[in-house]
């Protein structure tokens, strides 16, 4: 089948009533999660994962994906109206979005965020459709050494791009790998690190881990300081940006789309880095950089486009290579595994309906989001006013039920709470969650690829350098490690 037939197949799957409904449910929940500070898309996806056990794999992935890109749309609303990002990728939207709202231009800011997101999201999906088939043909030739090297590069990039300390990011990678070792060794069948606890024989569950580190920890941090946030009281009028707004935004949207798509492909990249990079580039290219941060529409259009384009491109490494690039993709990766599907190039060959159905539903979901976000903005503002005192017990109840319903076991609830404490302490000591989750998910695959590669080469490590892709990838990873080490030493020298 060629791309055209795959698109038709995807449309057929995406337009099934159950998939349309679940896509709508996903984007609705995603927008809600994006609007409400305190529960990011990773935790929301982990929460709803047990519900997807009742669905077919493609419907489940469609719904979970809807939460992801829905949260990217919704996140801008809180950034613009409350100056608090609903999720991390919308942090930079606060800078100009909130200032625009203060100047009485909340409508155009919200409108441009939604339109920019729609255009970039749609363009991202179009590029994704075009590259999928040719790229899967290349990736099919990958063997264990290439996979091992790519995963090493992924983790190295994550450390290199860490927003907090690089050493702490590397510690989190080690911690994630160690958690991943717990359970039965897939290669020898030997139990490892369970210390006689039968509950740990199957290893640590990804859902309790993610819900604990992201969901419970967030609630605990917020319980410390439950001061109410003021929603900017203004009558929002004129959601459609003016002709001038469009003229100012067209290039930031185009550049944001390109930057976002590219950065979304990189392990460790994703929407957060994309939105910050877009803002920095727009400021640098602008004829009036001093106006950035005072409430100009370019500061909203670029980053909002970039984070949505990055959302779409993150599916390339996930589906085509089988490597998640960020925490959300690690969650989707786990969801695919739970539903009995191994992400990677074979998924396109063996289950084309999963990939193409998800991609086409994303297209439909983007249209739904435009409809949800603009006419229903009043509803989202009302939801924003729900006090956190009411909200956090509800979040906790969803976390508890979500963890319990994975295996109908209290052990998962206890595990989630333990990881909640771990996540809370990580926030206090400024450790990032993404490297931990990614290393946890990739760890067993990394180990397997490493051992399989050595088996293939009769124990020779030269296999990692004889294969060109593997050699180049490992060299890049090595350079990034050196650069990270240099930056740590420079920082130490500067501090005396």
């Amino acid at each position: 089948m060629d791309t055209y037939h795959y698109i038709l197949l995807g449309l057929k799957v995406g337009l099934l009533p159950v998939n349309l409904l679940m896509c709508f449910v996903g984007v609705l929940i995603g927008t809600l999660v994006g609007v409400l500070p305190g529960l990011g898309p990773v935790a929301a996806m982990a929460l709803l994962l047990p519900i997807t056990f009742h669905l077919t794999p493609v419907t489940a992935i469609i719904m979970l994906s809807g939460i992801y890109y829905g949260a990217m749309y919704g996140g801008s609303t809180t950034s613009i109206l409350v100056n608090i990002p609903g999720e991390a990728a919308s942090v930079v939207t606060c800078l100009d979005g909130y200032r625009m709202a203060r100047k009485g231009r909340a409508g155009p800011a919200l409108g441009m965020a939604a339109f920019g997101s729609f255009i970039a999201g749609t363009m991202g999906i179009l590029i994704l459709m075009l590259v999928a088939n040719p790229m899967s043909a290349v990736v099919l030739r990958f063997g264990p050494p290439q996979y091992f090297s790519l995963m090493v590069l992924g983790m190295t990039l994550l450390i290199y791009l860490a927003q907090e300390s690089k050493i702490k990011a590397l510690v989190m990678v080690c911690f994630g790998l160690i958690l991943g070792f717990i359970g039965i060794d897939v290669l020898t069948g030997q139990p490892r690190f369970n210390y006689g606890w039968m509950e740990l024989a199957d290893g640590v569950g990804v859902v309790p881990l993610i819900m604990g580190v992201f969901g419970i920890a967030e609630v605990l941090v917020n319980i410390e300081d439950m001061t109410a946030q003021d929603v900017y009281e203004t009558r929002i009028k004129g959601l459609f940006p003016t002709r001038r707004d469009w003229a100012d935004s067209k290039w930031p949207i185009a550049r944001g789309t390109a930057i976002g798509f590219f950065l979304g492909l990189l392990p460790g990249g994703g929407p957060i880095i994309a939105s910050f990079s877009s803002y920095a580039i727009e400021k640098r290219l602008s004829k009036h950089p001093e106006k950035f941060g005072t409430g100009i529409i370019e500061g909203v259009a670029g980053p909002e486009s970039a984070n949505n384009a990055a959302t779409a491109s993150g599916y390339v490494p996930l589906f085509l290579i089988g490597i998640p690039t960020n925490g959300v993709m690690a969650m989707l990766f786990s969801a695919l595994l739970i539903h009995g599907l191994q992400p990677g190039p074979l998924i396109l060959k063996d289950h084309p309906e999963i990939f193409w159905g998800t991609v086409m539903s994303m297209y439909l979901g983007n249209v739904m989001l435009l409809v949800l976000n603009l006419p229903l903005i009043g509803l989202w503002i009302k939801i924003l006013k729900i006090p956190y005192q009411i909200l956090f017990p509800l979040i906790l109840s969803f976390c508890i039920i979500g963890a319990y319903s994975i295996n109908n076991s209290v052990i998962d609830v206890v595990a989630m709470l333990v990881f909640g404490v771990v996540g809370y302490l990580m926030r206090k000591f400024r450790y990032e969650g993404a490297p931990l989750i990614l290393a946890f998910v990739l760890g067993p695959l990394l180990e397997r690829a490493f051992v399989q590669s050595l088996n293939m080469s009769a124990g020779s490590y030269s296999i990692f350098f004889n294969e060109p892709i593997s050699a180049v990838t490992l060299t890049i990873a090595f350079v990034l490690v050196l650069l990270s080490a240099l930056s740590v030493f420079r920082k130490m020298a500067a501090e005396g």
């Binding site: 702490k168 439950m226 319990y404 124990g459």
Partner: protein
């Protein structure tokens, strides 16, 4: 404060790394360099973590003392500590109390204390939350909640 905590963190990670390395070495076996055993990869990760934790402690010792971070201190806020204790008690007693009774008590606590709602508001909100979640997850989605002493 950060300096002090980074030293504690470094020591904690050093402990974890030593446990992982020693267990891998003695219990699982490293195999050979070309044919790794089940302990080889964990041992390497443990070794890396040993270097990192020593590095962390070294950096923290060299660092100048920073001013306390209000978000960091106290390490466990009173609300957080009590909520965590209640949550763990809830989780451990869930099988015996059952979802409905256990969750009702949990939500009354959450709405009354950390949220600061009046008693009657806390009770009403808890009834609503428990009834709604039980109907949606237990009845519609067929989640097998523990029945507990109420047997429902």
């Amino acid at each position: 404060m950060m300096k002090k905590y980074d030293i504690y963190c470094g020591l904690f990670w050093l402990g974890v790394a030593l446990i992982v390395s020693v267990t891998s070495l003695l219990k699982f076996g490293l195999g050979s360099f070309g044919y790794p055993g089940p302990g080889f990869f964990p041992f390497l990760v443990g070794l890396l973590l040993i270097f990192l934790s020593i590095g962390m402690i070294g950096i923290a010792l060299k660092e100048k003392l920073k001013s306390p971070d209000f978000k960091q201190w106290p390490l466990f806020h009173r609300n957080v500590t009590i909520t965590l204790l209640v949550l763990f008690a809830y989780a451990f007693s869930l099988e015996s109390t059952g979802y409905i009774l256990g969750s009702f008590i949990l939500f009354v606590y959450l709405f009354r204390f950390p949220s600061g709602k009046r008693w009657w508001v806390a009770v009403v909100l808890s009834v609503i939350v428990v009834a709604t979640t039980y109907y949606f997850f237990g009845v519609l989605l067929q989640t097998q909640f523990p029945k507990g002493i109420l047997n429902i």
